[in-house]
Symmetry: C2
Subunit: 339 residues, 2 copies
DNA sequence: TTGAAAGCGCTAACAG
DNA sequence: CTGTTAGCGCTTTCAA
């Protein structure tokens, strides 16, 4: 393995000059530059990144903390983050917290040991007060969630708007009895989603019925369970916002089994735009998260923070979801709207 | 940011002693050890990893090259690799090749620049001769594929066995007219799969009909297309091995639309055990790949190579798939077997 | 059992 | 425009 010294010797120059060529510094004569480049090529020289990191106090690496990689949403986000990082010549170290406070803290230590220049978190397992203490060692950015008092740049999707447009969509299709599923996670975002949803109803003078509120619903099984509940109600909702494609799939699957017609008898809205939404029959109307935009913005902002060395800030970058309208809310027969 | 020097000063000892404590060396008196530890704690000292890497010529980082992260199989593999790495206190740098030769080479350069101790590849975009040249800089392991003449440790699934058990399963259920889909990828593995499949048929004295061989089939759309083709054949196969859950989903979806009954009129086998297999009706019989085992073995082997500094070898680690038998091949009515 | 000193490979004042 | 020199923070001889 050849070093900068070897190159210098072969080129008959000093290490400094070689370094200057390496870093595209001005003040190197064209002639010496060529000399250096020839020597580098001849030796197959490649700069050692550990030495550079040590000297520059920069690694060119960012850590991404994710609860579980194989979750479709996270794998999409990770994919986009990698692309964004790559475009900026950064490497990504991938850290799976598996929802563990301990693991999250361990990974945040990468900041302390200077193994990474910055950290992108996609959720908080520990309290803000814990996270905060790592801010002394480098920038942290929160992508995909929003935490009230967290004094770090945050990239997130406006959940209130999301709830709002879903409700609006269903209202426009004449639905007045709309059910809502919460996934049991208590977070700013989840609260906002619910509020946005209810606001749309209120604006349409549509009263939200508490009996149509389902809690702790997140899996296919939950969806099936919820459907059975619904099927047994005296007053049955005509539409449901499930908060998750899995739940939607479960509801539809159970509904079909019991001979219901979707969306005629029950319109269903999912969340996440997972693959299954286009595979099931009917295809599921779902919320598309702005994954790519959030990834790009996250990289842009963390990059800036790394270079500005000013890590605390309440800046928020907001993105909006889109609704992919598919068959599960597309009326084949006109619904009798209640005015 | 405090350094080892600061700790030494505060403890009234030398850097050497502090380093010894840090690395659990023998020959440090209990008393000095305590002193050092106190000083470290007091200063919130954490060793700088760039300095360590430079000095030790080891980074504790492994690069994983993957074509596309969000592909369900790869995200699962990545998840397992991360867990295995974490267990060995290694970090993973994630590299998306996006099927590009150029990107693959760029990422392999991480080995040259000593940014990583080793590389795990999950596919080859470049020829072996290219890849080989990077072997001078560190170990490379191939996980998930097998490349004939590649002189590196390889962890893979036995595709021949996979094709064999699928065919066997269908034969046992009385099928004699079985269709086969190739995904268009020309690789050792794909060839082996096909051969294993045909071998099982041959052993059952069942002649494989070339008209039941479909090429370049990999998406949902392909599946739908294939089904339409099948529906128009004079002699119709009673079962099909799709080589992919997407394809299977497409076939089933189109078949149902045309009023066919699955598996009664056509048994379908997928591949990958993706989420959809359990969500569709009927649930899809599919091949489960030994992801976790392959990930663990990969980490174990690359770890060993890193430490043995002997990178070339033809060693192969073989794993076997399992068949998840679900509704799409479960006969409700006995099929008339042709003898 | 401890410490002094050299050096991993690179970059950036500073001086010329 | 170019080179000398002094480290970045750590580990490891070697000597005591």
């Amino acid at each position: 393995m050849s070093t900068i010294e070897d190159v210098a010797k072969l080129a008959g120059l000093s290490r400094t000059t070689v370094s200057r060529v390496l870093n595209d510094h001005p003040y190197v004569s064209v002639e010496k530059k060529r000399l250096v480049q020839q020597a580098m090529e001849h030796l197959g020289y490649v700069p050692n990144s550990a030495a550079r990191s040590l000297r520059n106090q920069k690694t060119g690496i960012i850590a991404v903390l994710i609860p579980k990689i194989s979750t479709p949403f996270f794998s999409q986000l990770l994919e986009r983050l990698e692309m964004a990082a790559s475009a900026k010549s950064y490497q990504l170290i991938i850290c799976q917290t598996q929802f563990s406070k301990q693991k999250e803290r361990n990974y945040l230590n990468l900041l302390k040991t200077k193994q990474v220049d910055g950290v992108i978190m996609t959720s908080f397992e520990n309290d803000w007060s814990i996270i905060e203490s790592y801010l002394n060692y480098g920038p942290i950015l929160l992508c995909n969630e929003i935490v009230e008092n967290a004094e770090i740049p945050t990239v997130y999707m406006n959940q209130a708007n999301c709830g709002y447009i879903v409700a609006k969509h269903l209202l426009e299709r004449g639905h007045r009895h709309i059910a809502y599923c919460s996934n049991g996670i208590v977070s700013e975002g989840m609260k906002a989603r619910e509020q946005g949803f209810k606001r749309a109803l209120a604006e349409a003078s549509c009263f939200f019925e508490e009996k149509f509120y389902f809690e702790n619903v997140s899996s296919v099984e939950d969806g099936k369970r919820i459907f059975r509940k619904i099927a047994n109600m005296k007053i049955i909702p005509t539409a449901i916002f499930t908060g998750g494609d899995h739940v939607a799939a479960g509801i539809i699957s159970e509904a079909k089994k019991q001979g219901w017609s979707i969306p005629k008898e029950l319109a269903v809205v999912g969340f996440d735009d997972m693959e299954i939404t286009e595979l099931l029959d009917p295809m599921i109307t779902t919320v598309i998260q702005p994954v790519e935009e959030m990834a790009l913005k996250s990289m842009e902002v963390i990059y800036e923070k790394i270079h500005k060395k000013q890590y605390r800030s309440f800046e928020k970058y907001e993105f909006f979801s889109k609704l992919a309208v598919r068959d599960s809310t597309r009326m084949k027969r006109k619904l009798v709207a209640t005015f």
